[in-house]
């Protein structure tokens, strides 16, 4: 009699799990025998319950297995066999293995490069010892209808914080990065550094190579140099106690040399000096509580109450400058956010670099995933070939677990080899990659976390790639496989198709995204920027150039290469001055527009190539200083009808002389700010030179340089091409565009590798069908179509899925831009067409050989 009922499965499993293996079989037999008998006498339900009780009653010390489990002394031999067989399998299928290896290596290489970049970004500033306790004091300044976030602070704030808030260990005040001309022994160098309060060195970790921190900047006439700066100026000489000439008007003695700050640090400098608190300038600034142009940093005691500190800072500011209370809210911005979350909009933190860090992490994972999917795809495609092996292994007593291990070992061997290969590739590519992303990334072979990361990557990749094949192949029924009736049917084909579709969805998404990013950047670049950046050179001036300006200008014009010369208060590609709006008659009460301001000399519009829309430009007469120019944005924002000759009150009375076209100075992604332009040559240090048409810039520079050497001998001759400066505004966007190009290309490449492998496999399977069709008269084209059709269908499905997905993603991305493109249907049509073509190409290349082959060859032999 065969038992018709089986005892509750879970309890039986439970019993098998806890029972000592030595006792398991016969006690289980007893249980089942009793159970079957009970089913006959008391019915299944009661028998089930009694069975459960029996199982529970067996939970006794002598019956439960030891916790350690039973040791299999044969483990080593088995593992050796796994590796042996795995290795042989890889060698036997060289084509298949190398396709997999190539795909995985490319995937891993991309992933490693991206993750190195991500790691570097995440570690920004972490080399600082007081990383967790350092804050920058920042203010949200509210001008009625708009808030902007300002990092400029008043100078005496730091001292007051030091005195009044005990939870703050140190409050440091520094200048912005100051480019200075350092001269020694007839050589001149342009170097940038900070002037700081002496406690700067207590807060920021600086590594002293020569001299000591205590003495370094105690005296305001001393200077601390970074290692590279010291090397540049003094070569191999000892720089200590040497005296440098700064900006041709001050002397400073070198007291210490410090190691260069790590590249991924916010505070980087060539030199450090301390404020001279006894000088008149600093004395005046130390009493100034309204005009902000310094930076203030805090180091709190560990675990300080931040809210209290912030409140105290606001109180201090209010005490000295009561009018500021309604405008500014001061807060402490932690060092951990300086790099990645530095953007503010309307008084709220809106992230920043972190967006790209996240985006690229996702891309790294996706690329690796595509490579893993390839592996799964090809492995399951070959399942019929390995089915017999599985069948025989199972018949000979292989447990499923052992088969699974076998397949995992194979995939881990592959992932190990490709990891080694990709580490090699990465080391070869790193220099050019560093160049591209402007970083100093390196593989840290000495650090243990590199090896740990490597191990994890290898295992995760191997196991992900091997998971599906391992579980799928090992579940074959040996009887069916060996009888020869086994066919990988619908069940096997469907997941494979899903995987292919998934790959294509990702590829289409990446290509479309790349195109959209490109179009967006192109749109911004083709915006009318309001002036002509080509053939325009800017040279920062000095006191000497100001003194000799008229002479310089004459000499420049005499070269015959130069069309016009002017001076401005700030480089034309930057905004240095923001202020509230002027007053005018009929100004609505509640309106408060933030204006940008620019001081200029005569010939401003002529030199820059800016169109005058109304009125005229300054003509260079002294009376010009009581006039101002507006740009069109200002006129629009104020709602003026006839601005020319209107009276404006801005500190004193002005009249509007003219209106210029809108000039994009700062961000090409944002609308142009309203601007006031003043005639103020004395405060315009930046000299801009417009070259004549057709003059080569290098040729012009050759004649410009001697003029400056003559009149400005103490300074390094520096010049900037305005078009290059303007292009720098796209640094991030250009980088993103370049990287996404590369990654999209690689993703498609990996995708094609997978496609090729799968096509080759399909053909191998259908080789006889192809042969028979050929005998019956099919042409090569018909055969190509036959094979391609299967793949084209998948591409179509992927396309339909990818379009809305891309739309959604990219629409989100575009949202942050004020000027943005519309995503066009034609772009998708183009991408679809390219992918279709690519698929046809890849499949055809693989099919062609088979389709042309003499059918006799494929039909003659019994291959199986």
């Amino acid at each position: 009699m065969k038992p018709k009922f089986s005892p509750p499965k879970h309890f039986l499993r439970f019993f098998q799990w806890f029972c000592h293996p030595r006792l398991r079989d016969h006690i289980e037999g007893d249980l089942i025998e009793v159970y079957n008998e009970r089913v006959g006498t008391v019915g299944k339900r009661k028998a089930d319950i009694k069975f459960m009780l029996d199982v529970l009653s067996l939970l006794r010390q002598r019956i439960v297995r030891p916790i350690k489990g039973n040791k299999n002394s044969n483990n080593y031999a088995m593992i050796k066999i796994y590796f042996n067989i795995g290795w042989r399998n890889l060698l036997r299928n060289k084509g298949f293995s190398s396709i997999n290896l190539l795909g995985l290596t490319i995937g891993l290489t991309c992933a490693i490069l991206i993750l190195l970049w991500v790691q570097d970004e995440l570690n920004y500033n972490k080399s600082q010892k007081n990383y967790h306790d350092i804050y920058q004091v920042i203010a949200h300044r509210d001008f009625n209808n708009q808030i902007f976030t300002d990092r400029n602070m008043v100078m005496p704030l730091a001292g007051e914080i030091n005195d009044k808030i005990p939870q703050v260990k140190h409050a440091v005040v520094t200048t912005h990065l100051q480019p200075r001309n350092l001269a020694f022994g007839g050589k001149k160098f342009k170097k940038s550094g900070y002037i700081v309060s002496p406690n700067f060195l207590d807060v920021f970790s600086v590594n002293f190579l020569k001299g000591s921190a205590a003495e370094a900047i105690a005296d305001p006439s001393s200077i601390v140099l970074s290692e590279s700066t010291a090397k540049a100026i003094f070569g191999d000489e000892d720089p200590i106690d040497k005296v440098l000439k700064i900006d041709n008007n001050q002397d400073a003695k070198v007291t210490a040399v410090v190691a260069d700050m790590p590249a991924n640090t916010t505070i980087k400098f060539d030199y450090l000096r301390s404020f001279n608190y006894l000088s008149d300038n600093v004395k005046r600034d130390m009493k100034e509580w309204t005009s902000s142009s310094w930076t203030v940093f805090l180091q709190t005691v560990p675990g300080a109450d931040l809210e209290f500190i912030e409140k105290s800072i606001n109180d201090i500011k209010t005490e000295h400058d009561p009018r500021d209370k309604d405008i500014s809210t001061y807060f402490a911005f932690p060092m951990s956010k300086w790099r990645l979350q530095s953007d503010f909009k309307d008084g709220k933190n809106t992230g920043g670099m972190i967006v790209y860090v996240r985006m690229f992490t996702i891309i790294a994972i996706i690329i690796l995933l595509i490579a893993c999917v390839n592996f799964m795809n090809l492995s399951t495609a070959r399942s019929e070939k390995r089915a017999k092996e599985v069948g025989i292994r199972k018949t000979l007593g292989s447990a499923k677990k052992q088969l699974v291990t076998q397949f995992f070992v194979e995939s881990i061997i592959l992932s190990f080899i490709s990891f080694a290969l990709s580490v090699l590739t990465v080391s070869l590519l790193l220099p050019s990659f560093n160049n591209l992303v402007n970083k100093h990334l390196a593989l840290d072979f000495e650090k243990p976390h590199f090896w740990l990361g490597a191990l994890i990557t290898i295992l995760v990749t191997g196991i992900t790639a091997g998971s599906y094949p391992a579980l799928y192949l090992s579940s074959f029924n040996p009887v069916k496989v060996l009888k020869g009736t086994f066919r990988a049917g619908k069940n096997a084909v469907l997941p494979r198709h899903i995987l292919i579709v998934m790959q294509f969805v990702i590829s289409i998404l990446l290509i479309s995204a790349t195109i959209i990013v490109y179009q967006q950047i192109h749109l911004i670049k083709s915006r009318d920027i309001g002036y002509d950046t080509n053939n325009l050179i800017t040279i920062p001036g000095s006191r000497d150039t100001q003194k000799h300006y008229e002479v310089i200008k004459q000499e420049l014009l005499q070269t015959g290469m130069i069309n016009a010369v002017t001076r401005t208060g700030a480089p034309i590609t930057q905004i240095w001055w923001r202020t509230g709006s002027p007053k005018w008659e009929g100004k609505p009460e509640d309106i408060n527009i933030i204006f940008t301001g620019l001081a200029v000399d005569q010939d401003f519009t002529k030199t820059m190539g800016i169109k005058m829309l109304e009125g005229k430009d300054f003509s260079g007469v002294p009376a010009d200083s009581s006039y101002m120019l507006f740009n069109q944005a200002a006129v629009d924002a104020m709602g003026l009808e006839n601005p020319v000759s209107m009276k404006m009150i801005f500190g004193r009375d002005y009249a509007v002389l003219g209106v210029t076209d809108n000039v994009i100075q700062e961000s090409p992604f944002k609308p142009v700010d309203p601007m006031m332009i003043f005639y103020n040559p004395d405060n315009s240090y930046f000299i801009s030179i417009r070259l004549n048409d057709g003059i080569q810039p290098q040729q012009a520079l050759a004649s410009i340089e001697p003029i400056f050497e003559k009149h400005n001998p103490a300074y390094v001759f520096e010049y900037r091409f305005v078009d290059e400066e303007f292009e720098k505004k796209f640094l991030n966007e250009n980088l993103i565009s370049k990287l996404s190009n590369i990654f999209a290309a690689l993703a498609i490449f990996i995708c094609c590798i997978g496609l090729a492998g799968l096509a080759a496999f399909t053909i191998e399977k259908r080789i006889r069908e192809i042969g028979i069709r050929k005998v019956l008269g099919a042409t090569v084209q018909q055969l190509l179509l036959l094979i391609s059709k299967e793949f084209l269908k998948l591409v179509l499905i992927a396309f339909i899925m990818a379009v809305p997905l891309t739309w959604w993603f990219m629409d989100n991305w575009l949202e942050k831009y004020d000027f943005r493109i519309d995503i066009s249907i034609w772009m998708f049509a183009g991408v679809g067409f390219i992918i279709l073509l690519l698929t046809l190409l890849v499949v055809s290349i693989n099919t062609l050989g088979a389709a042309r082959r003499n059918p006799v060859k494929s039909l003659r032999s019994e291959q199986r």
């Binding site: 016969h26 289980e28 037999g29 007893d30 009653s57």
Partner: protein, 110 residues
């Protein structure tokens, strides 16, 4: 220290193994005890006792044929070893000795 440590239930199990000579395996022992002594025997108690006895060396086991009603699991037959025989004999002797020592009157309370 007992000469031959043997619990009451263990003694019964051993006796039953003797009773079902050549046919003593888990289920048959359980049934025999339940039938003869009209008491319930849990699987757990029985198998614990069997393991203990085997550890003490009073019984030994050998595998039988797997049968269909046991879903292919083998039976495990038990038999008494020489040491086991001594142990139950010792237990019986001590009991008999005790019986003999009881005054007749004590067993006939009024």
């Amino acid at each position: 220290m007992k000469k031959y440590p043997l619990g009451e239930f263990e003694e019964i199990v051993m006796l039953i193994i003797g009773v079902r000579y050549k046919e003593a395996y888990g289920v048959s022992i359980k049934k025999e005890i339940e039938a003869r002594l009209s008491r319930n025997v849990s699987m757990g108690a029985l198998h614990t006792a069997l393991v203990r006895l085997e550890d003490k060396g009073y019984i030994r086991s050998y595998d039988g044929e797997p049968t269909e009603e046991r879903a292919g699991r083998p039976k495990k037959y038990f038999e008494i070893t020489a040491l086991g025989a001594k142990a139950i004999a010792y237990a019986k002797d001590t009991r008999d000795e005790l019986w003999r020592s009881i005054p007749k009157l004590a067993l006939n309370p009024k």
